[in-house]
Amino acid sequence: MATMIAEATGQAILTEEHKQSFLRKYIFSTDHKVIAIQFLFLTLFFLMIGGFLAMMMRYQIAWPDQPIPLGGIFPESMVASGYILPEFYNSLVTMHGSIMVFLAIMPMLVGVYANYLIPLQLGAHDMAFPRLNMYSFWIMIPAGILTLSSFFVIGGAAGAGWTLYAPLSARPDLTGVALGQQMWLASVVLIGLSSIFGSLNYITTVINMRAPGMTWFRMPLTVWALFITAILGLLAMPVLSAAGIMLLFDQTIGTSFFLPEGGGQPLLWQHLFWFFGHPEVYILILPAMGFTSEILAVGSRKPIFGYKAMVWAIISIAFLGFIVWGHHMFQSGMNPALGLTFTISTLFIAVPSAIKTFNWMGTMWRGNLKLHTPMLFAIGFVAMFAIGGLSGIFMASTPVDIYIHDTYFIVAHIHYVLFGGSLFALFGAIYFWYPKMFGRMMNETLGKIHFWLTLIFFNLVFFPMHGLGMVGMMRRIYDASGYRHLEGIADTNALITWSAFALYASGFLFAFNFFWSLWRGKKAADNPWDATTLEWQTPSPPKHGNWAEVPVVYHGPHEYSHPGVTDKDWLAQNERPDVPSPAGGH
């Protein structure tokens, strides 16, 4: 708040920054590009951590009766005489889910790319509130530290699932986790604050700081997606903060908002959580859809098919996203009369996704497909997201959800949309914008190998989980042996686990490519992909302040293979006003 007022008093942001100390330039920088890169390193680190937790979980699920290798290096409170303890398994699931969602994917989508791309693609010098932007990164540091250190406090890390349903999450005596849960909640409140500061910046920048000629319907779809995502974050995160604070009070000072013995309502927690939680999953997919649209257009050398329909699809997903949350609660004891409304709204939210899917295909149709690594990941996104989305239809149908709720069918759905969706698009985005960020290309060959390994092992890990769900394997169980209906799934689980290890390993191939290219990668041209949007019309990497002169925009965002241009197959947004810009339609 105070910073915003400080900024409101209006100092020039850029002029003062001729000579900056190293600290101001690279550490406490207010340059949106530096902040984006800081976010990138932070979130890749958490991706690695979240993946590591998943590997431990997978080991336990596949071989519950075998001690885990190197188990001795863990404290007794986690791994006793080589065996993962059930309470530690619960912490693993919880922290895997929450780290992936809150510290890896979400900040990678918005922290990195909203920061990096919004000013560049709109032709602005920086964010509207650069200092606030810097805070939104630095708030993530204590949040991350809280999260990581919670593993090592008495009672261990939070273990009530990433959805932390009360009363399990509210009463330490029921889990043995007290401090860990509280640290989790504190860290989520911080992340919420960071994300609100971020959203505020993105929204204001998009609304008020577009370059001349950058009308709403000339904005690249990435910006549209990030803009709408910011609105979702702005309206959803505070509800989580409020609910989280109430839960924290239940934990610490003895209130009873969600505890029935004190008159509270356990279902209220679920409603509040999912009122946030469902918009949250769209926060996790919309930017990914934006990147995909961008990369598909570039890779197909065609304008986006149905640009306006895409924009309206994004907007309606966001709008409907606020009225479907009950589909997570069909079996929760919620008033069954609400079931019908939520089924219908949930099914209808699939319509804009269908529109988007078909428009992506339309973009590729009769294109001139350049299958470079970013393009491969973008196509992979469409292919995998479709699978994840289609499995969502099963759950949206209330009667079917009775059976598959809380089984591995859901786990399969989660990962098809979050990994096959968000993370595939993110990998594509990293390969795609890497040259702009760092001035060097990532290695193509390694990139392609990484893509194929990821695609294959991803499907080997998560496709069989649909089968596990159909058989009836419950989520979040430490040991599936002992259930009669689960006899005979051990081999499938072992296959999944081996594939998961391979998937994780291919992540390190990516890491190697990433770091190697930082120093050794081929020097990148300013516009290595022959792309049209504004960020490619700057040097790689762009200078502080982005533009010596603010660009003027004459064309829509994805003018590839324009018949009026003969010397090349693209037309930058700020180039040649004499080429007629076809307005929408055909």
Binding site: A8, R210, P212, H544, W547
Partner: protein
């Protein structure tokens, strides 16, 4: 750097208000959702729970809080007066009104602190002595909602102090009203939330 060499055309039309004001309104939208989470929970818990709530005046001291409401409303009017003074370049007025706003904000907090102490030490609710956050849903929701409102007032008071300090150096004036206007938006919003809270917590 030569950013000053402005483009041939003006930037695209946004909301037709300056950026900091847009930012504050966007921030207030998120605040609306935060308080909606708290107030919504209160409404829902009260509507759906078996727990009972005190009648107005039974537990809470309505007259004292009515005075406090009065103070907060007055501070809103002085805030807006400070802004008007800045537009009119009335330096004395700016200082006076900012100081008054700051003072009344601080008074609000003081009275709230007094109210809390009284309730915790001498409040009576359902036979138990002392009305605390642990006193059922009534106590929990009461302290959480008013507490978070108080926290917002506190942040506002800090910013008001800072604005007042700057006014002593004569920094506000017709050329520099944005900071005051944005701070004012925040302050009025806090007042607005209190209007709702006072009604549903103390009077219904």
């Amino acid at each position: 750097m030569a950013h000053a060499a402005a483009a041939a055309r003006a930037p695209e039309r946004g909301l037709d208000v300056y950026t900091q004001k847009v930012g504050m309104w966007v921030f207030l939208c998120s605040e609306v959702m935060f308080f909606a989470g708290l107030i919504g929970s209160y409404v829902i818990l009260r509507f759906g729970a078996s727990d009972s709530w005190g009648q107005p005046g039974e537990v809470l001291n309505v007259p004292v809080t009515a005075v406090n409401t009065f103070i907060l409303i007055c501070s809103s009017v002085t805030m807006v007066k400070a802004f008007a003074a800045a537009e009119a370049d009335d330096q004395k007025g700016i200082k006076l009104y900012l100081f008054l706003t700051f003072l009344m904000g601080a008074m609000f907090l003081g009275i709230q602190a007094y109210e809390y102490t009284e309730l915790i030490l001498h409040g009576e609710w359902q036979g138990s002595h002392g009305f605390t956050p642990q006193a059922g849903l009534y106590g929990a929701t009461f302290f959480t909602m008013t507490g978070f409102h108080g926290f917002h007032v506190f942040l506002g008071v800090v910013c008001l102090g800072w604005a007042f300090k700057r006014s002593l150096a004569g920094e506000w004036g017709p050329k520099n009203t944005h900071g005051l206007e944005v701070l004012g938006l925040y302050w009025h919003f806090v007042d607005l939330v209190w209007i709702i809270l006072f009604t549903i917590v103390y009077l219904i």
